[in-house]
């Protein structure tokens, strides 16, 4: 028995509006889903679990037809579906009336129900969101039936406002596998037993790191799962350390290298940290043009020794300025930046 578990495909999402690659991303998200179905067509698995948020919002009829046609193209695979908080089953949701292909089973209730797979010795459990939020612990006390075979639960949620989950209880409940969705970063609260597949494609710039699906298989009587990276791009965070020798050019070179190394197709967030020469004024928009860069966050500080400056300039405006900020205690990001902006301006424009 072999299955694929995925979630949070978010068909219809169009991340990074306003950037040069917006629009392309919307199509890419569909394309990756099609590509996955194609993969299953070529190498069929028994079961396909989609743990919610297949769509980014209420699906349109043509979208459901498109997805259904894709499912129809893998007749050897049974597809189990639930609605998540994004594509929740509103009163007028097409999920309520849509007639799926024979190999598709959609869990319509907002409470746990189960169905026996017609071929494999597997019982599948699931529920769908009828609301945007479910704050109650819907899975509290959920246990599998006392029948033979595998018991697999599809669940969407895992945060305070979306079906809070207690992984220890869930793990003890006795399900052989819990296929979770909602959290976009792949993770594994219980090894080979509870997994978040993560979003199939990253949906926004906070979804950093690899994305894909989980593949499960019975190996020598035991269920083994593994994460398979499948997204066509990743959002990556690149941190560049600066020092007192740094120049605009050296940062640009380092960025170019990092992008070349990590793949020019990926989407990058750049973080600059460390000390920098006080007289260096970075031009961030130049950095943004070096690749698919969503944002550049400059957290560098001018290489000033504040205590030494305070000592040196005590009794003058510069001293007062440093003291003014130091007396605030813990500085907010804006305050810290203000401290250095002011210092650079005062000290770098001074008469020698």
């Amino acid at each position: 028995m072999k299955f694929i578990h995925l979630a949070d495909v978010h068909l219809g999402a169009s991340p990074d509006r306003g950037s040069s690659w917006n629009g392309r991303r919307e199509e890419e998200i569909w394309e990756t889903f099609r590509r996955l179905i194609g993969e299953i067509r070529d190498h069929p698995v028994d079961l396909l679990f989609i743990a919610g948020d297949l769509f980014h919002r209420q699906p349109l009829l043509r979208e459901l037809r498109e997805v259904n046609a894709l499912f129809q193209s893998i007749p050897d695979t049974r597809v189990y579906l639930i609605a998540g908080n994004h594509d929740y089953m509103r009163k007028d949701s097409l999920y309520r009336s849509f007639v799926w292909a024979d190999n598709v089973y959609f869990f319509k209730e907002e409470h746990l129900t189960s169905v026996k797979d017609p071929v494999c010795d597997v019982t599948v459990y699931g529920f769908s969101f009828h609301h945007q939020e479910i704050e109650r612990e819907l899975l509290f006390g959920a246990v599998p039936e006392e029948t033979d075979g595998l018991h697999i639960l599809l669940a969407h949620g895992g945060d305070d406002r979306h079906v809070p989950m207690n992984y220890r209880n869930l793990s003890a409940a006795g399900f052989d596998y819990v296929a979770c969705g909602h959290i976009h970063k792949p993770n594994m609260p219980a090894r080979d037993q509870i997994r978040f597949s993560g979003a199939l494609e990253p949906i926004d710039r906070n979804d950093t790191g690899p994305h894909g699906y989980v593949e499960g298989q019975i190996v020598r009587g035991r269920l083994r799962t593994r994460f398979v990276p499948f997204a066509c791009r990743s959002y990556l965070d690149v941190t560049i350390e600066t020092d007192e020798e740094t120049t605009q050019h050296s940062i640009e070179e380092e960025m170019k290298e990092a992008i070349a190394q990590n793949g020019p197709d990926n989407l990058y967030r750049i973080f600059l940290t460390g000390m920098r020469p006080p007289e260096l004024l970075l031009i961030p928009e130049r950095l943004k043009s070096l690749g698919n860069i969503t944002e550049v966050t400059d957290m560098t500080r001018p290489a000033y020794d504040l205590q030494a400056l305070l000592r040196q300039y005590s009794g003058t405006l510069v001293g007062d300025y440093i003291r003014h900020f130091q007396e605030k205690g813990e500085l907010s990001v804006v305050e810290e930046k203000a401290l250095y902006y002011g210092l650079v301006a005062l000290l770098e424009t001074g008469r020698p």
């Binding site: 509006r17 306003g18 349109l60 300039y313 009794g315 510069v318 990001v333 930046k337």
Partner: protein, 507 residues
């Protein structure tokens, strides 16, 4: 505080040189290039150390300039000074790999190896304060107008910052330029997002128009349906009509059939032949009428059947049309909704602060803070600086100039007793006197109960003899140690002539 003695081990071109200084006026006399500036730098280095510049600037920094030619590992010397009730000995080696700091209290015997202890002893005199008040260098300007300008800058930055090396105008310029850069970026991003929003709005408009035209179609269908009159139960009504006609047909058949049979039977029973024939004929006629009527009714049934079929077909079409239009409208609505979701996401993005806007906030905070602190400083320093400068100027000129006034824009005028003269109208010598008064006034502002020595580096070059004696007499009655360095003998001559006690130090 008083500096008693310095012993320069190795500093620049000077090595193993001891100078003993006295109370009151000390004159450090030497030709150009004899090392006066070296001694000034040494003194400052002893108090505050010599820090290295970063990167390329290190090649030309103070450290490199005064690195000793011989014996570079011993780069420094010793200074003896009195502060409060204690006398101290301070030894430093500036060499970066052999740095040493030792401060010894000579009577108490306490020793410190942390420069922080010296900073504490110096109290309010930080390095910047020292540069601005203790050590007085020459005015750099050559021409009168430049000098006026320099003096104005000096007073403006001193008032606003307590530090004449700062330039608030340029600092604020720099901040504004950075802010502008971020603003342009932020505006561009926002414009881009708004453009996206507009695109979505156009999409929504389009979908709504489509819904409108679908609604028109829906109305047309409704009208058509109304024109079919019979409503949803039309099929039943028409069926009832058919059934009625069928019943009528059966009834007619029964009635006429029965009557015909009756007459025919009657004909059989009757004996009168004419009657018999007549009765049979009536029976046959009735039968014929029955058949005819039956056929008529059959026709009507067929007509009604056709009517029903036609109606049913029309009704079915209307219904399916209506269903299609309704589901199309519903789908358009869903599409609008999906665009609206995107629009909300955009709005969310627009509500969020852009990274550039964070930088702008920080720059604004920096500008506000600098302005507020600087205005505090002006309030504190301004009045006192005016008063003291005026007093000192009056004292060194024997009351010739009484009052220096600065207005908001740092325009300065001097009261000569009978009229107010703007700075531009004064001679270079007088400007130098005002500069001196300002520097001394600034020093007094900072120096508390125990005045710091004042170190005057060749500042009297432009003074005529009268001005020089005025200023030296004034310095003499000041209760502080004065170190004058000069490359001409004029200061010594005037001091002799005025019989002012001093200690001469020949380099």
């Amino acid at each position: 505080m008083k500096i008693d003695k310095i012993m320069i081990r190795n500093f620049g071109k000077i090595h193993d040189k001891t100078l003993e200084l006295g109370d009151g006026i000390n004159v450090l006399y030497g030709e150009n290039e004899s090392g006066k500036t070296t001694i000034h730098t040494f003194l400052k280095g002893m108090f505050f150390g010599i820090s290295r510049s970063r990167g390329r600037a290190a090649k030309k920094d103070v450290y490199s300039t005064y690195e000793p030619w011989e014996n570079p590992a011993e780069y420094g010397g010793t200074m003896w000074f009195t502060q409060g009730d204690g006398s101290f000995r301070l030894t430093r080696n500036f060499e970066q790999n052999h740095q040493r700091f030792e401060l010894v209290e000579e009577d108490g015997g306490r020793t410190w190896d942390d420069p922080e202890a010296l900073a504490e002893l110096l109290g309010e005199v930080s390095e910047a304060v020292y540069d601005n008040t203790v050590s007085v260098g020459q005015l750099k300007s050559v021409t009168g107008t430049d000098l006026v300008h320099e003096l104005k800058n000096y007073i403006a930055s001193y008032e606003g910052t307590g530090d004449t090396s700062l330039d608030l105008g340029r600092a604020s310029q720099m901040l504004k330029m950075s802010r502008k850069g971020f603003q342009v970026q932020a505006d561009r991003t926002r414009k881009e997002l708004l453009k996206e929003q507009e695109k979505l709005d156009v999409g929504i408009d389009y979908l709504e128009k489509e819904i409108d035209s679908l609604s028109d179609k829906q109305r047309q269908i409704d009208e058509k349906k109304k024109s079919l009159r019979l409503g949803d139960s039309g099929g039943d009504v028409l069926e009832r009509h058919i059934r009625g006609a069928k019943k009528k047909k059966t009834l007619t058949m029964l009635l006429f059939g029965a009557a015909a049979v009756l007459f025919v039977l009657m004909g059989l029973v009757l004996t009168d032949t004419r009657m018999k024939i007549g009765s049979a004929a009536v029976g046959v006629i009735l039968l014929l009428i029955g058949i005819f009527r039956n056929q008529q009714l059959q026709k009507e049934i067929r007509r009604r059947r056709r009517m029903k079929e036609k109606w049913m077909a029309k009704n079915k079409k209307v219904r399916s049309d209506k269903g299609a239009v309704e589901s199309a409208i519903q789908d358009k609505r869903r599409q609008i909704e999906s665009v609206q979701v995107q629009r909300e996401e955009l709005e969310e993005q627009l509500r969020e602060m852009l990274p550039e806007e964070l930088e702008i906030d920080a720059i604004n905070l920096a500008m506000e803070t600098i302005e507020a602190l600087s205005s505090d400083m002006s309030d504190q320093v301004g009045r006192q600086l005016h008063d003291r400068t005026s007093r000192i100027l009056s004292e060194i000129t024997n009351g010739k100039y009484r009052d220096v006034r600065f207005d908001e824009a740092f325009q300065m005028t001097v009261n000569t007793g009978d009229r107010m003269v703007p700075l531009e109208g004064l001679s270079r010598g007088t400007l130098e006197q005002i500069y001196f008064s300002l520097r001394m006034a600034a020093g007094e502002l900072f120096l508390g109960p125990e005045p710091f020595p004042v170190i005057l580096d060749d500042i009297f070059g432009m003074y005529d003899e009268e001005r020089l004696s005025g200023v030296l007499r004034w310095l003499h009655q000041e209760k502080r140690q004065i170190i004058i360095s000069t490359c001409s003998r004029r200061e010594l001559d005037v001091l002799e002539k005025e019989q002012i006690p001093y200690r001469g130090l020949l380099l």
